[in-house]
Amino acid sequence: MNGGTHIAQDDLALYAMGDLRGEELKQVRDHLQGCAECREEARAIAEDLAAIGMSVEQHAVPAGARQRFVESLGGEAKTQSPKRAETTVTPISVARPRTVWVPWAVAAVLAVGAAGLGVKVNTLRQQLHNQSRMLAQSQEEGVRSQRVLALLRTPHAQRVTLTPAKTPAVPSGHTIYLAERGELIFQGSNLKSLPQDKAYELWVIPANGTAPIPAGVFRPDSSGDASVVMPPLPPGVPAKAFAVTVERAEGSAAPTSIPILSGAPTQGE
Protein backbone atom coordinates (compact mmCIF):
# COMPACT_ATOMS: atom_id res chain seq x y z
CA MET A 1 0.00 0.00 0.00
CA ASN A 2 2.72 2.44 0.82
CA GLY A 3 5.03 1.63 -2.03
CA GLY A 4 7.95 1.16 0.29
CA THR A 5 8.37 4.70 1.56
CA HIS A 6 5.20 6.74 1.69
CA ILE A 7 1.52 6.06 1.34
CA ALA A 8 0.03 6.89 -2.03
CA GLN A 9 -2.21 9.93 -2.09
CA ASP A 10 -5.08 7.81 -3.38
CA ASP A 11 -4.85 5.57 -0.32
CA LEU A 12 -4.63 8.57 1.98
CA ALA A 13 -7.84 9.86 0.40
CA LEU A 14 -9.52 6.50 1.08
CA TYR A 15 -8.26 6.66 4.65
CA ALA A 16 -9.54 10.20 5.09
CA MET A 17 -12.96 9.11 3.82
CA GLY A 18 -13.07 6.20 6.25
CA ASP A 19 -13.09 3.67 3.44
CA LEU A 20 -10.27 1.49 4.73
CA ARG A 21 -10.89 -1.52 6.91
CA GLY A 22 -8.89 -4.28 8.54
CA GLU A 23 -5.28 -4.74 7.56
CA GLU A 24 -5.23 -1.81 5.13
CA LEU A 25 -6.47 0.54 7.83
CA LYS A 26 -3.90 -0.82 10.27
CA GLN A 27 -1.08 -0.35 7.75
CA VAL A 28 -1.99 3.28 7.15
CA ARG A 29 -2.39 4.03 10.83
CA ASP A 30 0.92 2.42 11.68
CA HIS A 31 2.67 4.35 8.94
CA LEU A 32 1.11 7.65 9.93
CA GLN A 33 2.28 7.17 13.48
CA GLY A 34 5.85 7.53 12.37
CA CYS A 35 5.65 9.60 9.17
CA ALA A 36 5.06 13.30 9.62
CA GLU A 37 5.03 13.88 5.86
CA CYS A 38 2.19 11.44 5.21
CA ARG A 39 0.40 12.63 8.32
CA GLU A 40 0.46 16.18 7.01
CA GLU A 41 -0.81 15.09 3.60
CA ALA A 42 -3.59 13.02 5.19
CA ARG A 43 -4.58 16.02 7.23
CA ALA A 44 -4.64 18.24 4.15
CA ILE A 45 -6.82 15.75 2.30
CA ALA A 46 -9.14 15.54 5.30
CA GLU A 47 -9.46 19.31 5.17
CA ASP A 48 -10.35 19.25 1.50
CA LEU A 49 -12.91 16.53 1.99
CA ALA A 50 -14.45 18.25 5.00
CA ALA A 51 -14.84 21.31 2.81
CA ILE A 52 -16.80 19.26 0.27
CA GLY A 53 -19.15 18.31 3.08
CA MET A 54 -19.72 21.99 3.71
CA SER A 55 -21.10 22.42 0.21
CA VAL A 56 -24.38 20.61 0.76
CA GLU A 57 -27.71 22.34 0.54
CA GLN A 58 -28.93 23.11 4.03
CA HIS A 59 -32.13 21.51 5.27
CA ALA A 60 -34.13 22.37 8.34
CA VAL A 61 -34.17 19.67 10.99
CA PRO A 62 -37.54 17.84 10.87
CA ALA A 63 -40.22 18.99 13.25
CA GLY A 64 -40.11 16.94 16.41
CA ALA A 65 -36.54 15.74 15.93
CA ARG A 66 -35.24 17.94 18.70
CA GLN A 67 -37.95 16.82 21.07
CA ARG A 68 -37.24 13.17 20.33
CA PHE A 69 -33.57 13.73 21.00
CA VAL A 70 -34.23 15.52 24.28
CA GLU A 71 -36.50 12.67 25.36
CA SER A 72 -33.88 10.10 24.48
CA LEU A 73 -31.46 11.89 26.80
CA GLY A 74 -33.86 11.38 29.67
CA GLY A 75 -34.75 7.83 28.77
CA GLU A 76 -31.31 6.35 28.31
CA ALA A 77 -28.53 5.98 30.81
CA LYS A 78 -25.05 7.08 29.82
CA THR A 79 -22.19 4.65 29.63
CA GLN A 80 -20.94 5.89 32.97
CA SER A 81 -23.36 4.88 35.68
CA PRO A 82 -24.71 7.71 37.79
CA LYS A 83 -23.39 7.97 41.30
CA ARG A 84 -26.66 7.15 42.93
CA ALA A 85 -26.42 3.63 41.49
CA GLU A 86 -23.25 2.92 43.38
CA THR A 87 -23.46 0.54 46.35
CA THR A 88 -22.67 1.96 49.77
CA VAL A 89 -20.61 -0.35 51.94
CA THR A 90 -20.71 0.16 55.69
CA PRO A 91 -17.86 -1.47 57.62
CA ILE A 92 -18.81 -3.79 60.47
CA SER A 93 -16.57 -2.93 63.34
CA VAL A 94 -17.47 -5.79 65.72
CA ALA A 95 -17.39 -9.35 64.47
CA ARG A 96 -20.05 -11.78 65.63
CA PRO A 97 -18.77 -15.22 64.69
CA ARG A 98 -21.90 -17.25 65.39
CA THR A 99 -24.32 -14.95 63.56
CA VAL A 100 -22.07 -13.46 60.95
CA TRP A 101 -24.10 -15.08 58.17
CA VAL A 102 -27.29 -13.26 59.20
CA PRO A 103 -26.47 -9.79 57.81
CA TRP A 104 -24.98 -11.38 54.72
CA ALA A 105 -28.13 -13.40 54.20
CA VAL A 106 -30.26 -10.30 54.67
CA ALA A 107 -28.02 -8.40 52.31
CA ALA A 108 -28.27 -11.20 49.75
CA VAL A 109 -32.05 -11.20 49.95
CA LEU A 110 -32.12 -7.43 49.62
CA ALA A 111 -29.69 -7.58 46.74
CA VAL A 112 -31.88 -10.08 44.89
CA GLY A 113 -34.90 -7.94 45.59
CA ALA A 114 -33.11 -4.82 44.48
CA ALA A 115 -31.96 -6.53 41.31
CA GLY A 116 -35.52 -7.53 40.56
CA LEU A 117 -36.73 -4.03 41.20
CA GLY A 118 -33.94 -2.68 39.05
CA VAL A 119 -35.03 -4.85 36.15
CA LYS A 120 -38.60 -3.74 36.67
CA VAL A 121 -37.60 -0.09 36.82
CA ASN A 122 -35.57 -0.44 33.64
CA THR A 123 -38.48 -2.16 31.89
CA LEU A 124 -40.89 0.56 32.95
CA ARG A 125 -38.41 3.22 31.98
CA GLN A 126 -38.06 1.67 28.53
CA GLN A 127 -41.83 1.45 28.19
CA LEU A 128 -42.14 5.09 29.18
CA HIS A 129 -39.46 6.01 26.69
CA ASN A 130 -41.24 4.08 23.92
CA GLN A 131 -44.56 5.71 24.82
CA SER A 132 -42.92 9.12 24.77
CA ARG A 133 -41.49 8.47 21.35
CA MET A 134 -44.85 7.30 20.04
CA LEU A 135 -46.52 10.38 21.49
CA ALA A 136 -43.90 12.61 19.91
CA GLN A 137 -44.39 10.85 16.57
CA SER A 138 -48.15 11.33 16.84
CA GLN A 139 -47.67 14.98 17.62
CA GLU A 140 -45.33 15.34 14.69
CA GLU A 141 -47.82 13.64 12.39
CA GLY A 142 -50.47 16.05 13.64
CA VAL A 143 -48.24 19.02 12.92
CA ARG A 144 -47.41 17.61 9.51
CA SER A 145 -51.09 17.13 8.71
CA GLN A 146 -51.77 20.71 9.69
CA ARG A 147 -49.00 21.89 7.40
CA VAL A 148 -50.32 19.80 4.53
CA LEU A 149 -53.78 21.25 4.99
CA ALA A 150 -52.40 24.76 5.25
CA LEU A 151 -50.43 24.25 2.04
CA LEU A 152 -53.48 22.94 0.20
CA ARG A 153 -55.53 25.91 1.39
CA THR A 154 -52.98 28.63 0.72
CA PRO A 155 -54.33 30.61 -2.24
CA HIS A 156 -50.98 31.83 -3.48
CA ALA A 157 -49.24 28.44 -3.44
CA GLN A 158 -48.07 27.58 -6.94
CA ARG A 159 -50.23 24.94 -8.61
CA VAL A 160 -48.62 23.38 -11.63
CA THR A 161 -49.73 20.58 -13.89
CA LEU A 162 -46.83 18.60 -15.28
CA THR A 163 -47.35 16.98 -18.65
CA PRO A 164 -45.16 14.75 -20.78
CA ALA A 165 -42.39 16.69 -22.45
CA LYS A 166 -42.62 15.13 -25.89
CA THR A 167 -45.10 12.28 -25.78
CA PRO A 168 -48.88 12.13 -25.77
CA ALA A 169 -50.38 13.29 -22.51
CA VAL A 170 -50.90 10.01 -20.77
CA PRO A 171 -48.75 10.30 -17.65
CA SER A 172 -49.26 13.49 -15.69
CA GLY A 173 -48.15 15.17 -12.51
CA HIS A 174 -49.48 17.94 -10.34
CA THR A 175 -47.30 20.01 -8.06
CA ILE A 176 -48.25 22.40 -5.29
CA TYR A 177 -45.28 24.42 -4.17
CA LEU A 178 -44.87 27.17 -1.62
CA ALA A 179 -41.45 28.66 -2.21
CA GLU A 180 -41.29 30.79 0.92
CA ARG A 181 -41.52 27.72 3.14
CA GLY A 182 -39.95 25.19 0.80
CA GLU A 183 -43.07 23.03 0.96
CA LEU A 184 -44.19 20.86 -1.88
CA ILE A 185 -46.75 18.22 -2.71
CA PHE A 186 -46.56 16.25 -5.94
CA GLN A 187 -49.10 13.81 -7.28
CA GLY A 188 -48.42 11.74 -10.35
CA SER A 189 -50.84 9.69 -12.39
CA ASN A 190 -50.61 7.13 -15.17
CA LEU A 191 -46.91 6.71 -14.63
CA LYS A 192 -45.27 3.73 -16.20
CA SER A 193 -43.72 1.13 -13.93
CA LEU A 194 -39.93 1.04 -13.90
CA PRO A 195 -37.28 -1.67 -13.49
CA GLN A 196 -36.17 -2.34 -9.93
CA ASP A 197 -32.95 -0.39 -10.38
CA LYS A 198 -34.77 2.74 -11.58
CA ALA A 199 -37.04 5.29 -9.97
CA TYR A 200 -38.62 8.62 -10.78
CA GLU A 201 -37.08 11.72 -9.30
CA LEU A 202 -38.78 15.08 -8.94
CA TRP A 203 -36.78 18.28 -9.42
CA VAL A 204 -37.35 21.89 -8.53
CA ILE A 205 -35.75 24.14 -11.13
CA PRO A 206 -34.82 27.38 -9.32
CA ALA A 207 -35.78 30.64 -10.98
CA ASN A 208 -32.32 32.05 -10.33
CA GLY A 209 -30.72 29.60 -12.71
CA THR A 210 -28.91 27.49 -10.15
CA ALA A 211 -28.78 23.73 -10.34
CA PRO A 212 -32.01 21.69 -10.09
CA ILE A 213 -32.87 20.71 -6.53
CA PRO A 214 -33.81 17.07 -5.96
CA ALA A 215 -37.29 16.96 -4.46
CA GLY A 216 -37.89 13.29 -3.89
CA VAL A 217 -37.43 9.85 -5.36
CA PHE A 218 -40.58 7.83 -5.92
CA ARG A 219 -42.05 4.81 -7.65
CA PRO A 220 -45.66 4.53 -8.82
CA ASP A 221 -48.05 1.94 -7.44
CA SER A 222 -49.72 -0.69 -9.59
CA SER A 223 -52.21 1.92 -10.81
CA GLY A 224 -49.46 4.25 -11.92
CA ASP A 225 -50.13 6.72 -9.12
CA ALA A 226 -47.44 8.23 -6.96
CA SER A 227 -46.99 11.12 -4.60
CA VAL A 228 -44.24 13.09 -2.94
CA VAL A 229 -45.33 14.95 0.18
CA MET A 230 -43.22 17.54 1.92
CA PRO A 231 -39.75 16.50 0.76
CA PRO A 232 -36.89 18.30 2.50
CA LEU A 233 -36.40 21.48 0.48
CA PRO A 234 -34.71 24.75 1.32
CA PRO A 235 -37.15 27.59 1.92
CA GLY A 236 -37.09 30.76 -0.13
CA VAL A 237 -36.27 29.27 -3.53
CA PRO A 238 -38.74 30.47 -6.18
CA ALA A 239 -39.18 27.88 -8.89
CA LYS A 240 -38.94 28.44 -12.60
CA ALA A 241 -40.19 24.95 -13.34
CA PHE A 242 -40.58 21.42 -12.07
CA ALA A 243 -39.54 18.22 -13.76
CA VAL A 244 -39.54 14.48 -13.32
CA THR A 245 -36.75 12.29 -14.64
CA VAL A 246 -35.96 8.61 -14.51
CA GLU A 247 -32.93 7.99 -12.31
CA ARG A 248 -31.30 5.07 -10.58
CA ALA A 249 -33.28 3.63 -7.69
CA GLU A 250 -31.52 5.61 -4.96
CA GLY A 251 -31.82 8.89 -6.84
CA SER A 252 -29.22 11.18 -8.36
CA ALA A 253 -27.52 14.37 -7.32
CA ALA A 254 -28.36 15.96 -10.65
CA PRO A 255 -30.72 14.96 -13.45
CA THR A 256 -29.12 12.41 -15.76
CA SER A 257 -31.92 11.96 -18.26
CA ILE A 258 -34.39 13.97 -20.27
CA PRO A 259 -37.47 14.89 -18.20
CA ILE A 260 -40.50 12.74 -18.85
CA LEU A 261 -42.67 15.36 -17.15
CA SER A 262 -42.09 19.05 -16.76
CA GLY A 263 -44.05 22.15 -16.09
CA ALA A 264 -43.68 25.78 -15.19
CA PRO A 265 -45.92 27.95 -13.07
CA THR A 266 -48.12 30.26 -15.05
CA GLN A 267 -47.68 33.98 -14.65
CA GLY A 268 -49.03 35.35 -11.45
CA GLU A 269 -48.48 32.14 -9.54
Binding site: G18, I45, A46, G53, S55, Q58, V61, S72, A253
Partner: protein, 203 residues
Protein backbone atom coordinates in the same frame (compact mmCIF):
# COMPACT_ATOMS: atom_id res chain seq x y z
CA UNK B 1 -2.02 13.17 14.85
CA UNK B 2 -2.25 14.79 18.18
CA UNK B 3 -0.34 17.96 17.73
CA UNK B 4 -3.09 20.18 16.44
CA UNK B 5 -4.50 23.17 18.26
CA UNK B 6 -8.01 23.28 19.62
CA UNK B 7 -10.70 24.19 17.13
CA UNK B 8 -8.21 24.24 14.28
CA UNK B 9 -10.88 24.85 11.67
CA UNK B 10 -11.61 28.13 13.38
CA UNK B 11 -15.25 27.75 12.46
CA UNK B 12 -17.12 29.78 15.00
CA UNK B 13 -20.22 28.29 16.61
CA UNK B 14 -22.22 31.21 15.33
CA UNK B 15 -21.17 30.52 11.76
CA UNK B 16 -22.16 26.91 11.90
CA UNK B 17 -25.31 27.67 13.75
CA UNK B 18 -26.46 30.27 11.32
CA UNK B 19 -25.60 28.12 8.39
CA UNK B 20 -27.61 25.29 9.77
CA UNK B 21 -30.54 27.53 10.60
CA UNK B 22 -30.78 26.40 14.16
CA UNK B 23 -32.70 28.36 16.71
CA UNK B 24 -30.12 29.19 19.34
CA UNK B 25 -30.23 32.64 20.89
CA UNK B 26 -27.31 34.95 21.40
CA UNK B 27 -26.76 34.22 25.05
CA UNK B 28 -26.47 30.52 24.32
CA UNK B 29 -24.09 31.08 21.45
CA UNK B 30 -21.45 32.54 23.75
CA UNK B 31 -20.61 29.22 25.36
CA UNK B 32 -17.81 27.40 23.60
CA UNK B 33 -18.00 23.84 22.34
CA UNK B 34 -15.30 22.81 24.81
CA UNK B 35 -17.28 24.21 27.71
CA UNK B 36 -20.46 22.48 26.59
CA UNK B 37 -18.61 19.21 26.11
CA UNK B 38 -17.22 19.43 29.63
CA UNK B 39 -20.77 19.79 30.90
CA UNK B 40 -21.90 16.88 28.72
CA UNK B 41 -19.19 14.83 30.40
CA UNK B 42 -20.95 15.60 33.65
CA UNK B 43 -24.31 14.33 32.35
CA UNK B 44 -25.66 17.81 31.67
CA UNK B 45 -28.46 17.20 29.18
CA UNK B 46 -29.07 20.93 28.71
CA UNK B 47 -25.53 21.34 27.39
CA UNK B 48 -26.09 18.38 25.07
CA UNK B 49 -29.28 19.94 23.78
CA UNK B 50 -27.40 23.16 23.06
CA UNK B 51 -24.87 21.24 21.00
CA UNK B 52 -27.76 19.59 19.17
CA UNK B 53 -29.25 22.99 18.43
CA UNK B 54 -25.89 24.22 17.24
CA UNK B 55 -25.02 21.45 14.81
CA UNK B 56 -28.17 19.44 14.06
CA UNK B 57 -28.94 21.37 10.87
CA UNK B 58 -25.54 20.73 9.41
CA UNK B 59 -25.50 17.08 10.42
CA UNK B 60 -29.00 16.52 9.06
CA UNK B 61 -28.20 18.28 5.78
CA UNK B 62 -25.19 16.05 5.15
CA UNK B 63 -27.24 12.98 6.03
CA UNK B 64 -29.99 14.02 3.62
CA UNK B 65 -27.47 14.69 0.88
CA UNK B 66 -25.95 11.23 1.17
CA UNK B 67 -29.02 9.15 2.03
CA UNK B 68 -31.66 11.11 0.09
CA UNK B 69 -34.23 9.93 2.56
CA UNK B 70 -35.56 12.21 5.28
CA UNK B 71 -36.46 9.35 7.60
CA UNK B 72 -33.13 7.62 7.47
CA UNK B 73 -31.38 10.97 7.70
CA UNK B 74 -33.16 11.75 10.94
CA UNK B 75 -32.32 8.31 12.32
CA UNK B 76 -28.70 9.06 11.60
CA UNK B 77 -29.00 12.52 13.12
CA UNK B 78 -30.31 11.03 16.36
CA UNK B 79 -27.67 8.32 16.31
CA UNK B 80 -24.73 10.68 15.85
CA UNK B 81 -25.79 12.99 18.67
CA UNK B 82 -26.74 10.19 20.99
CA UNK B 83 -23.32 8.66 20.42
CA UNK B 84 -21.78 11.98 21.42
CA UNK B 85 -23.99 12.03 24.51
CA UNK B 86 -23.00 8.52 25.53
CA UNK B 87 -19.33 8.93 24.71
CA UNK B 88 -18.36 12.60 24.61
CA UNK B 89 -14.76 11.51 25.08
CA UNK B 90 -14.92 10.11 21.51
CA UNK B 91 -14.28 13.63 20.31
CA UNK B 92 -10.94 15.10 21.17
CA UNK B 93 -10.10 18.59 20.10
CA UNK B 94 -6.88 17.40 18.51
CA UNK B 95 -9.07 15.89 15.78
CA UNK B 96 -10.24 19.32 14.71
CA UNK B 97 -13.29 21.37 15.50
CA UNK B 98 -16.39 19.63 16.81
CA UNK B 99 -18.42 20.83 13.84
CA UNK B 100 -15.98 19.37 11.33
CA UNK B 101 -15.71 16.14 13.30
CA UNK B 102 -19.49 15.72 13.41
CA UNK B 103 -19.64 16.40 9.71
CA UNK B 104 -17.09 13.68 8.94
CA UNK B 105 -18.67 11.19 11.33
CA UNK B 106 -22.07 11.83 9.75
CA UNK B 107 -20.79 11.48 6.21
CA UNK B 108 -18.93 8.26 6.95
CA UNK B 109 -21.82 6.71 8.82
CA UNK B 110 -24.24 7.71 6.09
CA UNK B 111 -22.04 6.01 3.53
CA UNK B 112 -21.97 2.91 5.73
CA UNK B 113 -25.78 2.94 5.75
CA UNK B 114 -25.97 3.61 2.04
CA UNK B 115 -23.61 0.79 1.17
CA UNK B 116 -24.99 -1.52 3.84
CA UNK B 117 -21.52 -2.16 5.13
CA UNK B 118 -20.49 -2.75 8.66
CA UNK B 119 -19.74 0.53 10.38
CA UNK B 120 -16.49 1.12 12.13
CA UNK B 121 -16.54 -0.08 15.70
CA UNK B 122 -16.66 3.39 17.11
CA UNK B 123 -16.61 6.97 15.98
CA UNK B 124 -13.16 7.08 17.48
CA UNK B 125 -11.95 5.17 14.45
CA UNK B 126 -12.76 7.95 12.04
CA UNK B 127 -9.72 9.84 10.90
CA UNK B 128 -9.87 13.58 10.92
CA UNK B 129 -7.45 16.23 11.82
CA UNK B 130 -8.79 19.23 10.02
CA UNK B 131 -6.83 22.41 10.55
CA UNK B 132 -8.40 24.30 7.70
CA UNK B 133 -8.84 27.88 8.74
CA UNK B 134 -12.35 29.07 8.06
CA UNK B 135 -11.33 31.96 10.31
CA UNK B 136 -13.42 34.86 11.40
CA UNK B 137 -14.19 36.05 7.90
CA UNK B 138 -16.81 33.44 7.81
CA UNK B 139 -20.31 34.58 8.70
CA UNK B 140 -23.64 33.02 7.92
CA UNK B 141 -22.60 30.33 5.55
CA UNK B 142 -19.94 32.35 3.75
CA UNK B 143 -17.74 29.30 3.93
CA UNK B 144 -20.39 27.22 2.26
CA UNK B 145 -20.65 29.73 -0.52
CA UNK B 146 -16.89 29.67 -0.92
CA UNK B 147 -16.81 25.89 -1.17
CA UNK B 148 -19.71 25.80 -3.58
CA UNK B 149 -18.03 28.40 -5.73
CA UNK B 150 -14.76 26.47 -5.64
CA UNK B 151 -16.52 23.25 -6.62
CA UNK B 152 -18.43 25.01 -9.39
CA UNK B 153 -15.15 26.20 -10.86
CA UNK B 154 -13.80 22.67 -11.18
CA UNK B 155 -14.14 20.91 -14.52
CA UNK B 156 -17.34 18.89 -14.35
CA UNK B 157 -15.49 15.59 -14.65
CA UNK B 158 -13.34 16.37 -11.61
CA UNK B 159 -16.28 17.62 -9.59
CA UNK B 160 -18.34 14.60 -10.54
CA UNK B 161 -15.57 12.21 -9.49
CA UNK B 162 -15.16 13.91 -6.12
CA UNK B 163 -18.88 13.99 -5.46
CA UNK B 164 -19.33 10.34 -6.41
CA UNK B 165 -16.57 9.42 -3.96
CA UNK B 166 -17.65 11.71 -1.15
CA UNK B 167 -21.43 11.61 -1.31
CA UNK B 168 -22.00 8.14 -2.72
CA UNK B 169 -18.97 6.42 -1.24
CA UNK B 170 -17.89 4.94 -4.55
CA UNK B 171 -14.38 3.59 -4.86
CA UNK B 172 -12.24 4.78 -7.73
CA UNK B 173 -12.83 1.46 -9.48
CA UNK B 174 -16.58 1.85 -9.07
CA UNK B 175 -16.43 5.40 -10.39
CA UNK B 176 -14.53 4.09 -13.38
CA UNK B 177 -17.23 1.51 -14.00
CA UNK B 178 -20.01 4.03 -13.48
CA UNK B 179 -18.58 6.68 -15.80
CA UNK B 180 -16.89 4.40 -18.29
CA UNK B 181 -13.62 6.25 -17.86
CA UNK B 182 -10.31 4.41 -17.36
CA UNK B 183 -9.28 3.92 -13.75
CA UNK B 184 -6.15 6.00 -14.25
CA UNK B 185 -8.24 8.86 -15.57
CA UNK B 186 -10.50 8.71 -12.54
CA UNK B 187 -7.52 8.77 -10.20
CA UNK B 188 -6.05 11.73 -12.03
CA UNK B 189 -9.32 13.63 -11.95
CA UNK B 190 -9.74 13.10 -8.24
CA UNK B 191 -6.18 14.11 -7.53
CA UNK B 192 -6.44 17.24 -9.69
CA UNK B 193 -9.84 18.01 -8.25
CA UNK B 194 -8.55 17.91 -4.69
CA UNK B 195 -5.53 20.02 -5.59
CA UNK B 196 -7.68 22.62 -7.37
CA UNK B 197 -10.15 22.68 -4.51
CA UNK B 198 -7.37 23.19 -2.00
CA UNK B 199 -5.93 26.06 -4.02
CA UNK B 200 -9.32 27.70 -4.37
CA UNK B 201 -10.02 27.46 -0.65
CA UNK B 202 -6.61 28.79 0.26
CA UNK B 203 -6.90 31.69 -2.16
Amino acid sequence: MTDFPDNPMGLSPRSINDASRSLRNDSESSESDDSLLRRVNENDSIAMTKLFDRYAGMVYSVAVRVLRDAGRAEDLLQDVFFQLWRKPESFVSSRGSLGAWLLVVTRNRAIDVLRRRRPMESVDDYPLASTISFASEVEQGAMMQKVRKALAMLPSEQRNALELAYFEGLSQTEISERTGDPLGTVKTRMRLGLISLRKALQA
